[in-house]
Amino acid sequence: MNVLGMQTLFVKEVRRFMRVPGQTVLSPLISTTLYFIVFGYSISGRVHEVEGQPYLHFIVPGLVFLGIANNAFLNSSSSLFITKIQGTVVDLLVAPLGPGELMAGFIGGAMVRGLVVGGLTWAVAALFSGFSLEHALVTAYFLFISSYVFSVLGMLAAIWAEKFEQINFFPTFVMLPLTFLGGVFYSVRELPSPWNTISLFNPMVYMVEGLRYGMLGSSIFSPVVGGAILAVVAAVATGVVYVVLRSGYRMKA
């Protein structure tokens, strides 16, 4: 295994997004903060409690999740896609970096960005609603698994995409609907049938609810079940990206 190669790619990915912090960290932080202010304050006037939590507290885990999901996905997808467009993917393909090394570098870098934005969102939210951390290990697990899954999906989108239009397909047509149907701003238990059942097939629900359990101490699903489902999702996504990368699909002529 090319440990130094993998480490180099990881450090490069982190430095890449840190070169433009306004675009990669500050901008998403502002948008999630706006979500907090607009949704939190406008709705909390009418909805005082959801699932036994004050509404302003209730939406914090979901907003942290949004910061993580969007930025982890954006980092790996845009970074890898841009290498294809710029032609610098040649450097990666010629170098002794196998699928494992490429994944570790891109996913690692994307996870750092997701977690940095998620962490800062949490810090900003704490200013509005106070800091709450009931189960640190559970929180850490769901932060980690959420950033991991979206980083992997970002890679998959970048491998598949050949045009700018295609790279926007996932965030617009897949992620955005699933995010808003993922229980960030409401409890999926309150959805009318059959949407509450359909929601069970949305992995984002388990990410949001897992973080809700870790941060606030209660959720509508057992974190063990949610955690296990997400571990399976992560394993399948990892396997798919590994196989696709090894095949050279849309990466090699």
């Binding site: 130094l4 180099t8 450090v11 710029q86 032609g87 040649v90 450097d91 393909l93 170098a95 196998g98």
Partner: protein
């Protein structure tokens, strides 16, 4: 007796098809360690596809590729530590400086940071002054130099230069030639494609000619020039000759321009042009000017691509 060293690169039956289009057709090729090999052919002949197949940019359809004896099918990653590629298309990562780009490249190849090597390569390619510049601020020629530096900074044993001097000035071209010769003298194997046949003629030990995905021939450059090459002797007379002189008839020369110009084409196996010239002087003819021109690789390439019968003897 010791075993001969493995070829730096060995291709057997290498083929690549894109749908119905055949880009490479069962190419067999063996490149010796330490040689400079020029792969020549027109646009779309398959040169870049061949290089891409070895460097992991192209998925081959069939055949075997061995790098220093190691089969890429059995180990697709390990042999790549030995490879360097200067791609045809300019690429650069705008987020990093020139020196950072080279350090990243070292890391990709599992080499610890080596600033001395970075400086050495930058100096060789006349980029030392741009070390801390962002790559996007470089001129086109400088970006090309950076590509070359990136391909060499990890000290590869087999380097592919795919049109390395396209669009660069004469000075850099000369600098690069000097550096390529130095690398080869140190044992690096170089595979070069170029549109500047002068470049191949200047550098290559052996030449391969490829067209429509087929490797038409591989030959020692000097032998190739001897075999296909010709020397043309053109003698201009101060006063027109009424007829082809006796010496000219013996050598099957041609008189033209109303008796003012005599032309003789010396091919492999013909009498030397010098003998004809001596005979013309001995005959006391009014010679005003003598011009000779040796055919170049360019002429040979055209001959081979036109399918001169003896050209198929690869």
């Amino acid at each position: 007796m010791s075993e001969p060293p493995s070829p730096a690169l060995e291709l057997q039956g290498l083929s690549k098809r894109y749908g119905n289009f055949t880009a490479l057709q069962s190419v067999d090729l063996s490149i010796r360690p330490g040689e400079i090999f020029a792969l020549l052919g027109p646009n779309g002949a398959g040169k870049t596809t061949l290089i891409g197949s070895v460097c992991g940019l192209v998925r081959k359809t069939a055949g075997t590729i061995r790098v220093f004896g190691r089969d890429l099918d059995a180990d697709p990653v390990g042999p790549r530590y030995e490879l360097g590629l200067v791609p045809q298309e300019i690429n650069f990562d705008p987020f990093f400086t020139v020196a950072e780009s080279l350090r990243i490249q070292q890391g990709y190849y599992g080499r610890p940071r080596d600033d001395a090597r970075v400086d050495e390569v930058l100096t060789a390619l006349n980029l030392q002054g741009k070390k801390d510049s962002l790559t996007r601020a470089l001129s086109g020629g400088m970006k090309r130099r950076l590509l070359i530096a990136k391909a060499l900074v990890h000290k590869p044993r087999l380097v592919f230069l795919d049109e390395p001097t396209a669009g660069v000035d004469v000075e850099l071209r000369r600098d690069l030639w000097t550096y390529v010769r130095k690398l080869a003298s140190e044992g690096t194997t170089i595979v070069l494609t170029t549109h500047y046949l002068e470049e191949a003629e200047e550098l290559a030990d052996r030449v391969g000619i490829i067209n429509e995905g087929r490797l038409l021939m591989v030959e020692d450059k000097a032998a190739l020039l001897r075999r296909f090459g010709e020397k043309r002797l053109v003698v201009t007379f101060a006063t027109p000759l009424p007829a082809l002189p006796e010496a000219g008839q013996r050598f099957a020369a041609r008189l033209s321009d109303d008796g003012r110009t005599l032309t003789y084409v010396e091919r492999d196996g013909c009498a030397p042009a010098g003998d004809l010239l001596r005979a013309l002087y001995a005959a006391g003819l009014p010679i005003a000017d003598v011009e000779t021109r040796r055919s170049r690789l360019e002429d040979v390439l055209i001959e081979v691509l036109r399918g001169r019968p003896s050209a198929s003897a690869a």
